[in-house]
Amino acid sequence: MPALVSKSLRDYRRSLIRWTIGIGAFFTLYLSIYPNISENKEIYGAQALAKYPGALRDLMGGMEDFTSGIGYLSSVVYQLFGPMLFVVCAMLLGNRAIAQPEEAGTLELTVTLPIDRRRLVFERFVALALGLLAVAAATFLLVWVLSAVSDMGVPADRILAAHTGVFLLGLFFGVLALTVGAATGRKGAAMAVVGVVAVGGYIVETMGKNVDWISWLRWISPFHYYLDGRPLHQGFPVGDYLVLAGATAVLLITAILAFDRRDVGV
């Protein structure tokens, strides 16, 4: 493994462990209350949920069918909170690639190593992707085991499809943070951009389903390529995921070119 990849992973180790525990705790908490919900269909059933205002229901991804395993997973775990936890985790990791060490001053010595600038960005990306993959793999296993234990009746390949989407979405936002950091050297700027794109993208994708004047924006929302294919219901939305991966690749190339051109630490 290239020195910079293993070094970055070593730097990320503690926060990777913390995020795995945190996201795992979130999944555990929500999956452990599922039996309670599935037994109380009169409270959480379709008619009960119909009382919520439409816009709120849209924001929560429709909230149809709370009481089945798939419905519960897709509207509670994989709709908003699960992806957002990954997005925040990936954003923080993405900032540690360039912007954070640049602001701290430690990047100066790194760029004077006999490593090409373009390669430096790429190796930091590899570390980000591997780190995020580790968090995703560990939490996937957890969800899979927990869903089996609580008899949710969701096939493992559907969970894998949804989890892959969460990973790709997280990676996209992580690379977005990395790219803004590579271009500007400011982690504040990276967090602002990720925040706006994530919150705006989520709102556009969910509200856009029923609000005509924003629905045309859905296709530029990263969340569209995760949520629209309904991976828990329909399995891998391969085309959508390829779009996410492709957008990530375009961002990465932008990051590499931007960082190669500019002054470091000014």
């Binding site: 070593r10 001053g105 100066e108 010595l109 190593l113 006999p114």
Partner: protein, 308 residues
Amino acid sequence: MTAVVETEGLTKFYGRRRGLEDLDLEIRPGEVFGYLGPNGAGKTTTIRLLLDVIRPTRGRMSVLGMDPRDPAVRGRIGYLPGELALEGREKASEYLDFLGRARGGVPRERIAALAERLDADLSVPMGKLSKGNKQKVGLIQAFMHEPEFLILDEPTSGLDPLVQQEFLAMVREVRSGGRTVLMSSHVLAEVEHVSDRVGIVRSGRLVAVEDIAALREKAVRRVELHFDAPVPREAFENLPGVRDLKVEGAGVRCTIDGRPDALVKAAARFTVVHLVSAEPDLEEIFLTYYSESEEEGRHARAGVQEPA
């Protein structure tokens, strides 16, 4: 032999702010080049340009005969940043391992030997190191791969005197091995004992490049002589190079430009009981240089004639 560093019209503006302008500099193989200037003069700017951390606004440069954009050249350089940042829980030894691997491998024993020489503890998390100990780690990483060319930005800042001496010995060893050193400082005293030549920068411009011996001759220094009996003022008046003369009983104080020869010969006629010659101070050397450069001439001469 080709120069280790060669720049031509090298210029860096930070927006509209001048960092360095029209630098023509040559550093020769095997020399220790002292790069002197007050804070904000442009020393760090020059060094960051040579290492491709920042890019020139205009001008050309080559380092070890290569374009600094080529990453391979950086493997042949050891660099100590002026503002060295080391942080986190990582131990210094782990960080040095990483830097060594990224530069193609450095034997552990060499790192250990350097650590012992500088009395550095590498088992402490880097975030907990004091400024002086961070500087030691910085020096170790700059020297450990035995680079052809060492670029050290204010290397002695934060080091206690004993470690400074050890560091200077390391620089001398590098030079006797035929390798080249560029070290910056704002204090002449820190570089004069190891440098072969010094360059002086001020406000982004190179004011002078001097052989260190020649610089010493030009230096203004304060001298104080004490005799066993009062001496006549006339004996010391109008001596070449002697200025600001003060004769008080058995004591004589003055500043001399260049050689102290005339003063010593004049003093030899009396019995000298005590002689103090202060190290030439960089500020004053700067002033002599400014008075030679047309632009700042008048201003600087005024400064020389009316010492505070």
